[in-house]
């Protein structure tokens, strides 16, 4: 029984079927992207164990599919089991071994990237200093209070994914419990109109929520827009602290409990760095007579108080800043639309990928393996021809 299982797991037929299914998943994943958008399609088809494709506008699952995780896992297992059962280590097969190790490294590297890599955005205006970048997709409910100094905040950050209607959340640092009353993936807020909304209660009883209403919006899946989540929560400490409206469109609100002032912010998830960048100057050059960008360039000042580094760096297209494990790519550029002309703004894409080297290593190993195998065959071939020629 076990030997049959190993036989199945190590078979070349399984490899071919898995690769074929990979093509099918990529095909349906690409189709799915047209209606779901890039990020949802990635999650649904590639960062999953099982998936199904449905035609646009339908909810009926039409084509069941293996997810990317399942295919990747099976390919790794298939390769490893094949090595332990079918392949025998000999020098003449060292090229094949190297190639297979390279492929395993590529697969595991992708897993590591999936687990560990983080992409975020650092956006600022000329003169602004940032020591954090923000997620472009995920939001957090942050409770902040002074950490006892003028420069530090104590932060309790709750991911937006935890804010499900009916959920009750507690954290030992927070002097209140959080009860989620409403949660929206995408919503807009606006003032409660005097007559139009007379039959509609305000979104919440406290803070700015007492004056606004929340209009739910259909979730957006396009690349050039993002969902702005909103929620209504109830805070209950020693006594009820009322309900509060949260929205990615709102800035911080303040609630005072037992003499301590807490700020509530519903904001993109922040990733703090042990160093800071100050945007000194933005340069936006276009080709003469056109709006076609020729050069986006941000001059930043990098300061790290621990290592006493203080230097200026230019970040521009194809010339990112690599520092502290992060890579800062020039992403967007703009200008404040203010009457006095405003300051230049810049957004840097911040990528943290500890396994960034594995694809390079994997490809080198695959290349070297193929070369070794080819040279071995070549030398054998030449050796066989020589006696015949002689």
């Amino acid at each position: 029984m076990i030997s049959k299982l190993f036989q199945f797991l190590s078979s070349l037929r399984l490899t071919v079927v898995l690769l074929g299914l990979g093509v099918v998943v990529v095909f349906f994943g690409t189709l799915g992207q047209t209606s779901d958008g890039l990020y949802v399609a990635q999650e649904r088809y590639f960062r999953s164990w099982f998936a199904y494709w449905t035609p646009h506008g339908s909810t009926f699952p039409v084509v069941p599919l293996p997810g990317g995780y399942l295919l990747g896992t099976m390919l790794v297992i298939n390769l490893i089991v094949a090595h332990f059962t079918r392949f025998k280590w000999t020098w003449s097969k060292s090229g094949i071994f190297l190639t297979h190790i390279g492929i395993i490294l590529l697969l595991l590297g992708q897993l590591a990237t999936d687990m560990l890599a983080r992409e975020s955005i650092m956006s600022f205006r000329e003169g602004d200093t940032r020591n954090y970048s923000e997620s472009s997709m995920d939001f957090e409910l942050a409770f902040l209070r002074s950490a006892g100094s003028n420069t530090l905040d104590q932060v309790v950050s709750i991911p937006a994914s935890r804010l499900k209607p009916g959920a009750e959340l507690r954290q030992e640092l927070l002097p209140f419990a959080i009860r989620v009353k409403e949660a929206y993936e995408n919503a807009r807020i606006r003032l409660r109109a005097p007559v139009m909304d007379s039959n509609r209660p305000p979104a919440a009883t406290q803070g700015v929520g007492a004056r606004i209403v929340i209009d739910e919006q259909p979730p957006t899946r396009t690349m050039d827009a993002r969902n702005v989540p909103a929620a209504v929560i109830e805070l209950s400490g020693p006594s009820s602290l009322g309900t509060w409206a949260l929205s990615g469109e709102l800035k911080s609100q303040t609630v005072t409990v037992e003499g301590t002032e807490w700020r509530l912010e519903y904001r993109p998830v922040r990733d703090y760095k042990p160093f800071a960048l100050t945007l000194l100057k933005t340069t936006h050059e276009t080709y003469p007579g056109t709006d076609i960008p020729k050069n986006f360039q941000s001059r930043v000042r990098l300061r790290n108080t621990e290592s006493h580094e203080d230097r200026e760096v230019d970040i521009y297209m194809n010339s990112p800043l690599r520092y502290g494990g992060y890579t800062f790519f020039q992403y967007q550029m703009g200008k404040e639309q203010l009457a006095d002309g405003g300051r230049g703004t810049s957004a840097l894409q911040v990528v943290l990928n500890p396994s960034w080297v594995t694809p390079y290593l994997g490809c080198i190993l695959v290349g070297v393996g193929l070369l070794v195998q080819f040279l071995m065959h070549l030398t054998k071939f030449i050796a066989r021809r020589k006696p015949r020629a002689a």
């Binding site: 897993l111 932060v155 709750i158 807009r188 807020i189 003032l191």
Partner: protein, 396 residues
């Protein structure tokens, strides 16, 4: 066995992918820096002065007309040079300035400046209204090109129409002629018009053109100024930029002071607001910078009731896509707001699909003051209380 362990570990690691995203994090983080640092051209960083520390307004260059001088103590100077021979007339209705020229034989011309929101109905509609006034048949869109000329106004180029009436519509004796220049200015359109007896209008045409050329459109220099910064066609203390001395700085404590000397009341400027440069038809402006879209606060005044409370509220409603109100519905859609100085006015909140306008209209004697916040819905919601506090802090 060995590979079973390897497989088990990799499978576990694989399945762990995506975990950890849902965890509550507790950490200490540096406090956000206040968003006031601005890079100066030399590359260093300076602090932008708070809005309350920037001079809000000052007397603009004065008029050369006797009429203007005679009322200079109360009436602020106008941002143009009034030609000799033009007599200032009382502004009424939607007019922000009015002049006249009369001849002993009874012929006269009327010169007016009217500011209206948006495109004010469109070019064709306005031209046909003017044509109708002097007995001409309506023109078509295709006819407009032949009637149109481009003339300088301040440091800008604007469209002017010359309409020559044929019928003797004035006292049954004289045909009439109209020259009208249209200046888009931000969210307003300003109309400069001279109309009256045909020959007298022709005689006054050089003065009319010189008057338009003298309009202070702000921006300075000979280059065509961007529309948003063009200023100013109002007979008001034109703009913070058009300073020629005598300005008072707002006093401390968030922006009081200055009252009277520059024609503006005292007020408390909320934190985060940024004094904006000159804009047409405005006495003062503030930007509310926000990543979701900037908010805009304007302060302006018009003679009389500025065209009427309901008309102005309905104009604002149109700007945010709301249907106009019937006369009786205004009370239910507004409230009364009282200022620190003892004035009271009408407060409206106009919530459109995208934009929201918050406004307060204060009638004081012979002028109406307009305080208006225009912003994307979320920014308006965020700044609603601050704007109300701003209005409530006003002292004339």
């Amino acid at each position: 066995m060995r590979f079973t362990v390897v497989m088990g570990v990799s499978a576990l690691a694989w399945m762990a992918a995506g975990c950890g995203k849902d965890e509550v994090r507790v950490y200490q983080a540096p406090q956000d820096a206040p968003p006031v640092a601005a890079a100066n051209p030399q590359g260093g960083a300076t602090l932008t002065p708070p809005a309350s520390e920037i001079p809000r307004s000052a007397t603009s260059r004065s008029s050369s007309s006797a009429g203007s001088e005679s009322s200079a103590s109360e009436r602020p100077a106008v941002p143009w040079t009034v030609p000799a021979g033009w007599e200032e007339m009382p502004a009424s209705g939607m007019r922000v300035a009015s002049y006249g020229v009369k001849r002993p034989d009874g012929r006269s011309v009327d010169i007016s400046v009217v500011a209206m929101g948006g495109g004010a109905g469109g070019e064709l509609e306005n031209v046909n209204r003017w044509r109708d006034q002097i007995g001409l048949e309506p023109a078509t869109e295709a006819d407009l090109a032949g009637l149109r000329s481009i003339i300088p106004a301040g440091n800008r180029q604007v469209v002017m129409y010359q309409l020559d009436g044929k019928k003797a519509v004035l006292d049954g004796k004289y045909p009439a002629r109209t020259l009208a220049a249209i200046m888009p200015a931000g969210e307003m359109t300003v109309f400069f018009k001279i109309t009256g007896e045909s020959a007298l209008v022709a005689e006054q045409k050089p003065q009319f053109l010189a008057w338009l050329k003298s309009v202070d459109t702000g921006g300075g220099g000979g280059e065509s100024a961007p529309e948003a910064s063009a200023s100013s066609s109002a007979p008001a203390p034109a703009s913070p930029a058009a300073v020629s001395g005598g300005s008072e700085r707002a006093s401390g404590g968030g922006g009081g002071g200055g009252g009277g000397a520059d024609g503006l009341p005292n007020w408390q400027v909320p934190s985060g607001w940024k004094a904006a440069g000159p804009k047409p038809m405005r006495l003062a402006s503030f930007d509310i910078p926000d990543a979701a879209g900037n908010g805009d606060v304007s302060i302006s005044k018009l003679s009389g009731n500025g065209g009427g409370l309901l008309a102005n509220v309905n104009r604002w409603r149109g700007q945010v896509g709301l249907a106009p109100l019937e006369a009786g519905a205004l009370a239910a859609n507004s409230k009364t707001v009282a200022t620190a100085g003892g004035d009271s006015g009408t407060w409206v909140e106009l919530v459109g699909t995208e934009k929201t306008i918050l406004g307060a209209i204060l009638a004081r004697g012979e002028v109406s003051w307009f305080f208006k916040l225009t912003a994307p819905a979320a920014v308006a919601a965020q700044n609603r209380d601050a704007f109300e506090q701003f209005v409530r802090s006003i002292r004339f």
